[in-house]
């Protein structure tokens, strides 16, 4: 095996140093009766054969489609420098910075990431990352329960239905009362999403006020790219802000790895889950960074920890930071503006033949009701080279004809026109 360097003579020498006759002797503690008797595993492959096999598997995925599929995960432009820099093995082959002196690259980048999240979302502190948007929302809910000593979690209809399902799964045995709506009375928190799962943009500042009055925390799920343009969770009075960070320079990757973003007001920092990096000085007075407030975490507090999280998504957070640095304030604003403008253009074209379901302005995604089942329409549009969108019935968020359409800055006007034409033709016949 090429990844195992030991030679036969070295093995003999090592066994001699240990004082045993064979490697098998080292497994004496494993009872004979429990040893493996064989298994159904494929034989090993050479690197050449492996690559051919992987190419063949990848070829059975169709990736040359024009993408209008969103639903919380978006096909955004990723600058080349993100891959080049995050692909440096000094980053990706390191682990959690337990020895800060030899991990300043990791620690400073996480500190800068935490800062970027705060600046983007208008919040005061952020953790080093959670797994993804859905688990970040779950952590925000339990964090709110810890902070308020209350047990009711109120989930607004704007929230991603898959994440809502994840919340229920993670809380299945906790004595929490998870209810739909937006009534803050007696609640630990109210969770809203902006833009909503269907793409609608609102100003939730009033609800933020009502939460404060009722002693409930206000949790806002945001789309990071939309904040190039939209009012921040902080400005709406959010106590906790969470997001799926995929749109910040992470490939779609069929579901992950993604990035769970969690930010909060500073007074809540000790209730926050996950790692936090803080600035400090070394013995010579030089600036340096360390993991801090670790007494909240599982390796110290065990069953009393704020969360069980250990491994997080640090490399994804690094990519998000790099993306935000490369975009800068103006680049992010332009990206958000392009997404919005292109989506508005397409929405107005589609609205001419299918009703738009959103009850307010939208950002870069909107829902339409088609005269035919959305899955059928999507199947036909696949044949024309389009990923037409998300059939909402498939995620329990609409009727058979409802389709969620997303537009990013990557779609050209020609693609928008071709898509609108094709959709109209499939929905309304060839009688253009």
């Amino acid at each position: 095996m090429t990844w195992i360097p030991v030679t036969d003579s070295e093995r003999e020498e090592m066994l001699g140093t240990i004082g045993v006759n064979s490697v098998e002797d080292l497994f004496a503690a494993v009872p004979e009766a429990l040893r493996m008797r064989g298994w159904d595993m494929p034989p090993g492959l050479s690197e050449m054969a492996l690559r051919a096999h992987m190419d063949a598997l990848a070829a059975r995925n169709k990736t040359d489609l024009s993408c209008f599929l969103g639903g919380g995960y978006y096909d955004h432009f990723i600058p080349a420098a993100v891959d080049a820099l995050s692909g440096r093995s000094e980053f990706f082959t390191a682990y959690t910075p337990y020895q800060p002196e030899c991990a300043q690259g990791t620690l400073q980048s996480i500190y800068e990431y935490q800062s970027a999240v705060c600046r983007l979302a208008g919040m005061e502190c952020a953790n080093a990352s959670l797994y993804d948007g859905g688990t970040a929302m779950f952590e925000a809910a339990t964090m709110a329960c810890r902070a308020t000593c209350r047990t009711r979690v109120v989930v607004d209809g704007s929230v991603n239905p898959v994440w809502r399902r994840m919340l229920l799964t993670h809380c299945a045995k906790l004595e929490l009362d998870i209810v739909d709506g937006a009534d803050p009375e007696g609640a630990a928190c109210v969770i809203v999403q902006n833009p909503s799962f269907l793409g609608t943009v609102r100003d939730f500042a009033d609800l933020g006020e009502r939460c404060r009055a009722a002693g409930a925390l206000f949790v806002v799920v945001f789309n990071p790219v939309s904040l190039g343009m939209l009012k921040t969770p902080g400005a709406m009075g959010a106590d906790i802000a969470v997001a799926e960070g995929q749109s910040l320079g992470l490939p779609l990757g069929f579901g992950g790895p993604y990035l769970g973003i969690l930010a909060a007001r500073k007074k809540l920092i000790r209730k926050m889950p996950g790692r936090i990096v803080g600035e400090t000085l070394d013995a010579q007075g030089r600036r340096g960074f360390v993991l801090t407030l670790q007494a909240r975490e599982q390796h110290i507090r065990r069953e009393k920890a704020n969360s069980n999280i250990c491994s997080n998504q640090a490399l994804c957070a690094l990519r998000a930071l790099m993306y935000l640095c490369l975009m800068g304030p103006e680049g992010l604003r332009q990206t958000a503006q392009a997404c919005h403008s292109k989506a508005e253009y397409l929405k107005s074209r589609i609205a001419a033949f299918a009703p738009v379901l959103n009850d307010g302005p939208t950002f870069h995604e909107f829902a339409v009701r088609l005269p035919r089942p959305a899955e059928t329409v999507c199947a036909e549009l696949l044949g024309r080279g389009f990923l037409a969108g998300l059939p909402l019935a498939a995620v329990g968020a609409g009727e058979a004809g409802d389709l969620l359409v997303a537009v990013t800055e990557k779609r050209t006007r020609a693609e928008l026109d071709a898509y609108a034409d094709a959709l109209k033709e499939v929905c309304c016949g060839t009688d253009l």
Binding site: R11, W39, T93, G256, Q298, N308, L315
Partner: protein, 480 residues
């Protein structure tokens, strides 16, 4: 080093975007932020140089020996990186798995999920695998929630406790508590294994499950693991296998055969996917017969028409929106196919060989935490050095100066002044020898020049950092 924010110059740009090819649309200003986000304004070269310099302030497996116990810092093969970056996987939209209509365009990905889950189940001696959990701790949570789903379905309302040995990773009790269970700790014997009598005593009718790590965090195989399973099952308590230490036994014995009902794999440990400065990893799980009906869904199944998705009626729900950290699974799949069933046992063989070799070389100068042979990691205790004023922390810092990452220190909590060394199978004898030489040299310095050890590290960009200051004068973001 300066922060990227301190390098910002008003008006500087890194990325030029396409000019807008549709009319610019406006949103009501009340819905918008009044000013652009205060992100750094820097050039592409500024960004490249900043992060290149930052990367050079890190130790990683590609540049340093990284014997961080319990973390299995083995070499991350380049071919795994290459295949995970394939656009055929990397650009695939996750919602392709949400609607039937899209199944035909992601058959390769669905096959990879199916085959990876199948191979994991086979390696675990289990019935089925599931890629959803996104890290080891998330896998533990999934496993404990599966145990909860089992008891709920059986009407076992009195089952509210999980038993966990005191040597367990902190994530075990944290996961059990996070799921909503009470945690009861089982002590270790002086020999370093779980106290079987104490376990039997604690194993009453309220016990829902027992979480074990095998070999445990003392680097020892739990000799009575099979009896534990029998006793637990006798009171309808299920057995959880923490796969953190699977590298010691992969292909040698299987948790399912040992009697475990559910386990997680750390794909970033055993199957060599990179640790990414702390993540992403993957905490895929596998279950035996008892928990099969409750697995997270939907599941990929193989049919005559290809791979398709199926919901499970009694499913516990969803741990992830899709198939967890899929691109990590792609890397692990490549690793598994590279070694194959014939090659995998050599991973455990050589991981255990290497750990015992280092143990043999070091157990004279440092006290062995436990006697006998170890599995894939060896535990030393710096108590003799601590008596002379040099603690495990000082030894760790001295190793950094000598170009090595430090072992895990002060874990497990059951061993005083613990140094936990895990070389993995991918390290050569000469690398381990250099490390052992450094450890022996440090042991000598304890007597002749202890001050140099207190001062370490002196060769890195920063010396020891003031953690008390960091916690007291909390500064965890550079705000605009």
């Amino acid at each position: 080093m300066e922060l990227i924010y301190e390098k910002s110059r008003s008006g500087r740009r890194a990325v030029a975007l396409e000019p807008l090819d549709v009319p610019e649309a406006e949103l009501n200003s009340e819905l918008c932020r009044p000013a652009a986000a205060p992100l750094p304004e820097v050039s592409e070269l500024d960004v490249v140089r900043h992060f290149t310099l930052l990367s050079q302030r890190n130790y990683g497996v590609d540049s340093q020996f990284y014997p961080l116990g319990s973390c299995t810092m083995k070499y991350n093969p380049k071919v795994s990186e290459l295949v995970a970056a394939h656009p055929g996987f990397a650009t695939l939209h996750p919602h392709l798995s949400s609607a039937k209509v899209y199944e035909p365009v992601c058959q390769g990905a669905l096959e990879l999920v199916f085959e990876t889950e199948r191979m994991l189940a086979e390696i675990g001696g289990m019935q089925a695998g599931c890629l959803q959990p996104m890290a080891g701790a998330h896998g533990e949570l999934a496993g404990v929630l599966l145990i909860a789903a089992y008891h709920r379905d059986k009407g076992n309302t009195h089952k509210r406790t999980i038993l966990i040995p005191d040597s367990a990773h902190g994530t075990n009790p944290a996961s059990a508590a996070m799921a909503g269970f009470e945690v009861r700790e089982i002590p270790s014997t002086p020999a370093g294994v779980m106290d079987f009598d104490k376990l039997v005593e604690a194993l009453d009718d309220t016990v829902a499950g027992v979480m074990m790590t095998c070999p445990n965090t003392h680097g020892l195989f739990e000799p009575q693991v099979h009896e534990v399973a029998e006793r637990a099952h006798a009171v309808d308590a299920l057995l959880y296998y923490d796969g953190a230490n699977l590298n010691a036994i992969v292909g040698k014995c299987r948790p399912g055969d040992l009697g475990f009902d559910v386990m997680h794999f750390n794909l970033h440990k055993t199957f060599a996917t990179p640790h990414g400065m702390g993540g992403p990893g993957s905490g895929a799980i596998a279950v035996g017969e008892r928990l099969l009906p409750y697995l997270p869904g939907p599941r990929v199944v193989k049919s005559a028409d290809g791979y398709t998705l199926e919901t499970i009626p009694k499913s516990m729900g969803r741990m992830a929106a899709f198939f967890g950290n899929f691109l990590i699974a792609v890397r692990a799949y490549a690793f598994l196919r590279y070694y194959g069933g014939d090659g995998l046992p050599s991973v455990a063989d050589n991981a255990v060989l290497n750990a015992n070799y280092m143990f043999a070389r070091l157990r004279g100068a440092y006290q062995a935490a436990f006697e006998g042979t170890c599995m894939h990691e060896c535990l030393l205790s710096a108590v003799r050095q601590a008596d002379k004023g040099i603690h495990a922390l000082d030894i760790a810092k001295a190793l950094l100066d000598r170009g090595f990452h430090a072992p895990t220190i002060y874990f497990p909590l059951t061993v005083k002044e613990c140094l936990m060394i895990e070389p993995t199978e991918t390290e050569s004898k000469e690398t381990m020898d250099l490390f052992c030489d450094a450890m022996l040299e440090i042991a000598q310095l304890v007597d002749v020049d202890p001050d140099s050890l207190h001062a370490a590290p002196v060769t890195l960009p920063v010396s020891r950092l003031d953690e008390v200051r960091a916690a007291k004068d909390l500064n965890c973001a550079c705000l605009a």
